[in-house]
């Protein structure tokens, strides 16, 4: 299992880096899909099957397709992006290191008490249970999420509509 975790983690981080470093946005998108798949693999290792499915559908399926579509639409499928000035890139790298350092240091310094993990055997992540929790305890946020999606749909349509006011 540990080996599997390391392999998956390596894929996750590697593809994430590649996403960022590839010149061509199409390649970035492809790498990101891979990254998402590896994260889905993590979910599977947690035995969170429903989440696994949803993740693949929403991210790899919906979001990434949307992104690819946009990239195609904008004709960005070539590596014509100019690099940032060297100073910015160095600054980006430095702040990357800094954030990582601080977050890790914070975590290490705060010395969390890691209890031995116990399996209670209780079912908490089957679809049935999740459904119950979602529709009992989180009923209102759930409805709001639906409203949010609706609104964002309308917003997206309105935003991307060609405006004819100026003409």
């Amino acid at each position: 299992m540990l080996t599997l975790f390391y392999i998956l983690s390596a894929i996750t981080l590697g593809t994430a880096f590649l996403t960022i470093l590839s010149k061509n946005p199409i390649h970035s998108a492809i790498y990101l899909v891979l990254c998402f798949f590896s994260i889905a693999g993590h979910y599977l290792m947690f035995n969170a099957q429903f989440l696994f499915i949803v993740h693949i559908i929403v991210y790899s399926g919906a979001i990434m397709i949307l992104m690819l579509f946009t990239i195609m639409l904008m004709n960005l499928n070539k590596a014509d992006e100019k690099n940032k000035p060297i100073l910015s890139r160095v600054a980006a790298a430095v702040s990357f290191c800094l954030v990582a350092l601080i977050l890790l240091a914070t975590f290490i310094k705060s010395q969390p008490v890691i209890n031995e993990y116990k399996v209670s055997g209780q079912d908490y992540q089957s679809i049935k249970v999740l459904g119950q929790v979602l529709l009992n305890n989180y009923m209102v946020p759930f409805e709001f999420a639906s409203v949010l999606l609706l609104v964002s749909m309308i917003g997206a349509v309105l935003l991307s509509k060609k405006e004819h006011i100026n003409n």
Partner: protein
Amino acid sequence: METNLALLLLFAPFAGFLINVFFGKKLGRNASGILGTLAVTVSFAATLFFFLQVMNTKVPVMVNLFEWLKLANFTVNFSFQLDQLSLLWLMFVTGIGTLIHMYSISYMHDDENMHKFFAYLNLFVFFMITLVMGSNLLIMFIGWEGVGLCSYLLIGFWYKNQTYNDAAKKAFIMNRIGDLGFLIGIFILGYLFHTVEYDMMKTELTNGWPVDKTWLGIAMLCLFIGACGKSAQIPLYTWLPDAMAGPTPVSALIHAATMVTAGIFMITRLNFLFNLTPDVLEIIAVVGAVTSLVAASIGLVQNDIKKVLAYSTVSQLGLMFLALGLGAYEIAVFHVITHAFFKACLFLGSGSVIHALHGEQDMRNMGGLRKVMKITFITFLISTLAISGLPPFSGFFSKDEILMTAFHHNKVLWIIGSLASIMTAFYMFRLLYLTFYKDFRGTEEQKHHLHESPSLITFPLIVLAILALVGGAISLPGMSWLNEYLAPVMAKPAEHHHLGNTEYMLMGIAVVGALIGIGIAYAKYIKKGEVPPADAEITGVTNVLYNKYYVDEIYTAIIVKPIYAIGSFFKNVIEVALSGFVFGLGRAATLLGNEGKTIQNGSVGFYLLVFVLGVCSILGYIFLVK
């Protein structure tokens, strides 16, 4: 009954003031004048009643109205006290006041604002009565400031002339300097005694109330500064000669007979306190003596008839202060009374002259009036003899007493006082000769109009001249009615001088001195027939004297000008700097904004970088540093 009568005494002039202010114009000239005179006459009658009563019973009349001020340490009531001293004062305030009101009916007859003149005069009498009648220092202070106000209003009565207004303003402000001293003195006394009532202070002193002598001395000195302001002593005397800008009756009433003696009244009133501070008395004596000499020396060369009289007033007041400083309060009071008679008479006489000459005040343009203005001349002569200190006129007795007391205390003061007296005799006779003798030196037209004044003017002159003649009788050496009368209000019994050889010798010296003064004047102005030269030709010492030792100029240079200079400095430097500083803060904010907005360069990447760094530092601070 007593209370009502006392209130009548107090408020009759005030009623006269109110009626004259509101209805004076409708009443017409004569009516308003008569009303004003009547109001004061009523007061005089009431005073006479009380005077006789108190002389018999020797019990002062007290009137307590209501509480006025209440402070943590003491309360101040509206209360009045009619005792020997205040009644004596009231007698000549209301008495001479009546005469001068009468005089003014005729004198001011042609003035368009005659009703106002009488209103102010009445108001003045009201405040003077308040000053004298009050039973505590604050009531006196009301009167004190009130008479100052009336003096201001009356000096500036002809308000269209800004020079007169300047003189009025100067009088008020110089008085206010003294008033500040007075006020501080009241504060200290109130703090020391927990009261400002005269009687209570006296009682406390006799009961052995612990009093800090140093503070008492300071208080007395402050009060004396107040007296200096009101009674025109060095260094606050310069307003009085300028105050002659007012109509002549005003000069007679306020600036000779009554208001300027308020300082002497106050010191006499508080004699039981001044007795405790001999050092302050010493200062008073010296200031008085020096004032009398300085003022007399200036008087020697003045050419304005009223200015001469003004300086003579300052000089005589100086003599009174000399007496006060020597602890001889009765004698000072005596001189106040005789002075009130003869000086009022002199001023009114000069007013009569000015009236006859239609406003001419320069003696160089007078002369020979003896023949046309007989009554004026005779009364003037009597008063002049009185002020010069020739027996048996009243001035002789009072002045001689002062000099005699001075001789017994301090020979230097006596010499100064005697010199001042000789000068007085000289300049008064100079005035007399220049005005009434020889030939008329004015224009033909003036000569044509020369006339004796109407009886409303001459009657007061006659009365005053008689009083100036016989007034000395109230305190003859050896058998003084005045001393006896005033004994209850004095803390120390009056000094009795044996009429020995020394005394007779002193009298002799005084008389001879006066005669010398008169002789010089006679030699100069009758024998040689000199007339003082025009202003431009005055030179040397005379010039210094003529310009009053340049004191006004010095005051302007060292006090008034610096104040204006500081004002300019404040206005042009400090105000600008302060205001600039405040605006500077605003400008700094603008500048900061303008500079700061360049950080907002619009580059999202840069924003993000800063954002990340900010989050880093916050996290680092919270989790790592703390």
